[in-house]
Amino acid sequence: MSLEPEAARPREGPAHEIRFTLNGVQRSASVGITMSALQMLRDVIGLTGTKYGCGEGECGACTIIVDGLSVNSCLLFALDCDGRELTTIEGLAGDARAKVLSQAFVEYGAVQCGFCTPGMMVQATHLLATQPHPDAAAAKRAIEGNLCRCTGYQKIAQAIVAAGQALAAGDQP
């Protein structure tokens, strides 16, 4: 975790101060012009749960929620986070949906090496918030931007469907 002084980051331009809400807590950060939100989260703030997979929006390992929508943090300018609400995998710790989802991930064998898992979890939590009862096709469609090399996606989709069912059942008296 390091807040590099200006001179140490010649290629990212002068530092700008932004204020935003991260995982429910207001904070500020000093970021370079071309810095991505992913770089800010990992290198400036020190939250390593969000992963670098490709840096160009193809793999989804860097997925976070911004103002209620899932996005690739590697494509988001850190400066554009000013005034916005960001949620990372760390911020899902208290989220009821994420809790059920992570339990399903564990129980359905949806985790192997785990590198894609934070991105999957964030994307799937977002799916369940917007489409509470997805079927397998909808689950797979929702994670089409999240690459996994280990699981073949089958158990991840099953976990998402099961979590949706569990949440729906929990809603009923």
Partner: protein
Amino acid sequence: MNPAVQTSEDARRFGAEQVEHVDRMNPAVQTPEDYLAATSLVEALTALRAGASVCVLAGGTDLMPQLHAGRSKPARLLLNIRRVPGLDAIGIEADSLRIGALTTIAQLLVDPLLRTQAPLLAEAADHFASDQIRNAATLGGNVCNASPAGDMLTPLLALDAQVELAFLGGDGSARTRRLALDGFFTGPGSTQRKPHELLTALLVPLAPTGQVARFFKSGSRPALDISTISIAFSARRDAGGLLHGVRLALGAVAPTPLRARRTEALLEGKALDAALAAQAAASAAEEAKPIDDVRASAWYRRELLRNMTRRMLEDVART
């Protein structure tokens, strides 16, 4: 979406001996010196007018990779327009559907007005990258990025879309002008937008009665592919089954998205049947100017174009 390498010059460069590998792996991240998040259209236009080179940021889904790969034009100012109000609305204006430039691709997927007036756009949006990218990418960005393979561009062309460009008037207020999208693209990555102008909206004529429209994007993967080819068709079918106002737009088979005018003329005023569909398909394949690149060969692109245009038109004939 990420720009495709589509011109023969680009293809040469992509594989050329002269490519400096160290630069590809470690390009100078081009850093603008200044940043401005405009909160009004006038503020944005004033910045654009200021004379210095400006890089416009909306969703960032094209800009960030380009910046880090050293593929963007160097600029002094990074101008974030995402906070400019009023640029993300979809509504009806006179006889057009007005789509704000900052409308995200995700919004295009769900907007009820769009689904009735321009379902072709909703269908193209459905094939656009991933959920994460759709949530951030903007229609204006896709248009200004002017990729030969841009997913939204062929449907917009087929729907006779116009672009609205805003600029700072002499009195310091925002003025606009409109251009047909057809002709707006001048080459891969370049448009008729002047450096001091901002794309503020796309305008699509309201769907006439009898409109038939189809969209096809190739590839085995539902979304993340940059299209090998894309085809958009739109026409008005009268009570006698004759087609009027035929528009056939082709993507990824030329330096810019292309209107297949000779093929359109072939179909204009006719009723579609299997024979005409085949003839039109052959014509479309001839009009295209595809290249060989790492994604596909020119030969295959032509075959695909011919086959899928025929299928598309046969489908229109059947319904």
